[in-house]
């Protein structure tokens, strides 16, 4: 009984820590899908791209993966702005975003993945850093640093994004663009520009999330796929466009997955997010903290 209690506590703690990381990968989609209504299913592919950038900078220059990803932030921001520009001109302007916009992002997902396979191959890659390896012990609870560090920085990242959204002019404009574009235009703000900035921020988070991912686990080009269901389950469960909701939902899913893999075996864990997604859609489509 003592043994299984330890197991339970450990499973919950590691679930919360992993949940912090999930929050980072889902926050980008929470911005694009939740606020801007852009169903960016290619987001996991950009996260994997972030992982490979961190890997390349780490293995060639010995940079810390998180510092590497911060260096790469402007590049990801520019990538996001570019993609939004194409998306806007080709789909949003023509009013065809639902079918063809989705296909567009699906194509991007596929191109990114195959391009990474062609360039790096399908071998698993990992990074070196001082905090990968050691584990802290608090009584019976083990806290691996390789999960704790990404979790902490991820929460920091989300706090910063939330502050930007709620305190700055651009941030408030981003929240407004989701509600009333015409009113925004009447305030002499260009909604397209605001959306471009918001989408660019959402892709920029993928750079950091990618570094977290490759710190936590070795990465190969197609692992992003496992995260698609999880990311959207978190966004829907948390309530569309709510970052605090995203964090809560991410930790909830992290804990449920961790319990599932501890007590039923890790091969069942991927089914958790889907079950949660379907349940949420059926019972409370607005999510936990939905507007």
């Amino acid at each position: 009984m003592i043994f299984s209690f330890d197991l339970l506590i450990n499973a919950i703690v590691s679930g919360i820590l992993i949940g912090g990381f999930y929050a980072a990968i889902a926050s980008g989609v929470s911005l694009s899908f939740g606020i801007l209504d852009i169903v960016n299913i290619a987001h996991p592919a950009f996260i994997i791209l972030g992982s490979y950038v961190a890997y390349t900078l780490n293995s060639h220059f010995g940079l810390d993966p998180i510092i590497a990803s911060i260096i790469a932030l402007p590049a990801f921001y520019a990538l996001g702005a570019g993609i939004y520009q194409i998306y806007y001109v080709a789909f949003e302007k023509r009013g065809q975003e639902s079918l063809r916009g989705l296909a567009f992002f699906f194509g991007l997902l596929f191109i990114t993945e195959v391009a990474l396979v062609l360039y790096f191959g399908v071998d698993y890659r990992d990074v070196n850093a001082a905090y990968i390896g050691p584990t802290l012990h608090f009584g019976a609870v083990d806290v691996p640093l390789r999960i704790m560090v990404p979790c902490a920085i991820s929460l920091l990242l989300i706090t910063v994004v939330q502050l930007v959204l709620s305190r700055t002019f651009v941030g408030r404009a981003i929240m407004a663009v989701a509600q009333d574009q015409l009113a925004l235009r009447l305030m002499a703000v260009d909604p397209v520009r605001i959306k471009r900035i918001a989408f660019a921020i959402s892709i920029a988070t993928a750079s950091l999330a990618g570094a977290f991912l490759i710190i936590i686990q070795p990465v190969e080009p197609s692992v992003g796929r496992d995260y698609i269901g999880r990311i959207f389950a978190i966004c829907v469960l948390g309530g569309m466009g709510s970052l605090p909701g995203t964090v809560i939902a991410a930790m909830l899913i992290g804990v449920i997955e961790s319990l599932t893999s501890t007590f039923y075996g890790p091969s069942w864990a991927p089914a958790v997010s889907f079950g949660v997604l379907l349940l949420t859609l059926a019972v409370r489509p607005a999510g936990l903290l939905g507007r």
Binding site: V39, Q96, G229, F232, F274, L278, L281
Partner: protein, 348 residues
Amino acid sequence: MRTIPFLLVSLAVAALVFAGALALGNDYVFFAGYVVLQYIVLSTAWNILGGYCGYVNFGTGAFFALGAYSTVAIYQLIAANEFPHVVPIPVLMLIGGVVSGVVGLGMGYLTLRLRGAFFSIATLALAVVLETLVVNWDFVGGSRGAYILRPETVPLIGSYIRYLALTMLLLAVASLVIARLIERSRLGYGFATIRDDELAAEASGVPTLRLKLIATTISGALMGMAGAPFPYYIGYLQPDSTFALDYAVNSIAMPLIGGTSTWMGPLIGAVLLGSLQQLIIVTISSAVNLLLVGVLLVGFVIVAPNGIVGLVHKYLQHKGDDFVGRRHIGLEAPATVSAEGSAPESPS
């Protein structure tokens, strides 16, 4: 053209294709042709929901794999007997179709009441979950995969691959006939109203949820039917490759490249892209082939939103030549409705 003559013409074309392949006298033609035919079925099936209703399904691989794994399950059930091949392929297709259709109906029921994007995301996640189930289900091979022994020959037809190609050819004809039938029936007009403006359709009394469920079921069932013979084709079925995103991206790319609003689009897309892929796999590599599909998909979606059919239509219209008018191409739904003089048939 009415449905019966269309069916006869399609069968005649199919017979010609099959005879032509036989005349080449090389079984490789059937190996490659099977894949192209399979993609005709998959992209036509995808288009019934995606092109006609405007709901994007990313789970083609999942529905396809459902069909394939139904076959494996049946094979394992009767493998203990001395005759492992008592179940003919068409029966397996029907079973696979029923399984996939039911799953499609359930998926649709849970997600189609919400905005379209939720359905798309759920289908994407469905593939992951079904793969999890299959990996954990030892009866159908689990993560190790399952071997299927197939007979060398089939009476009257010859080698087994010819038999498989023939059944897939007939399924392709059937799916095209079904798609065309839907397009010209009340059902198809209902689908078009959902695609063009779901809210307005709902307000005008179109039973949108029921229509969407019908579309999901038909589409899923056809995908499952396409998957059912696959274990016999490949010989060794493994979850990773069966649930691969390749099916999803191909079955989306082909209709979008061909043109989504008519049955011809998926056919053109599948034949062109499918043959091109077979060529590239043989001559260059399969990774490059997938890259090409992605690039073509993105390129066509941006540059030619109505696909090849749309380009041809625009060109003909531009020339002022009304030989192939809207009625035959059926590009814009409202135009189709007004041009189609005959009374709409009731959905059956």
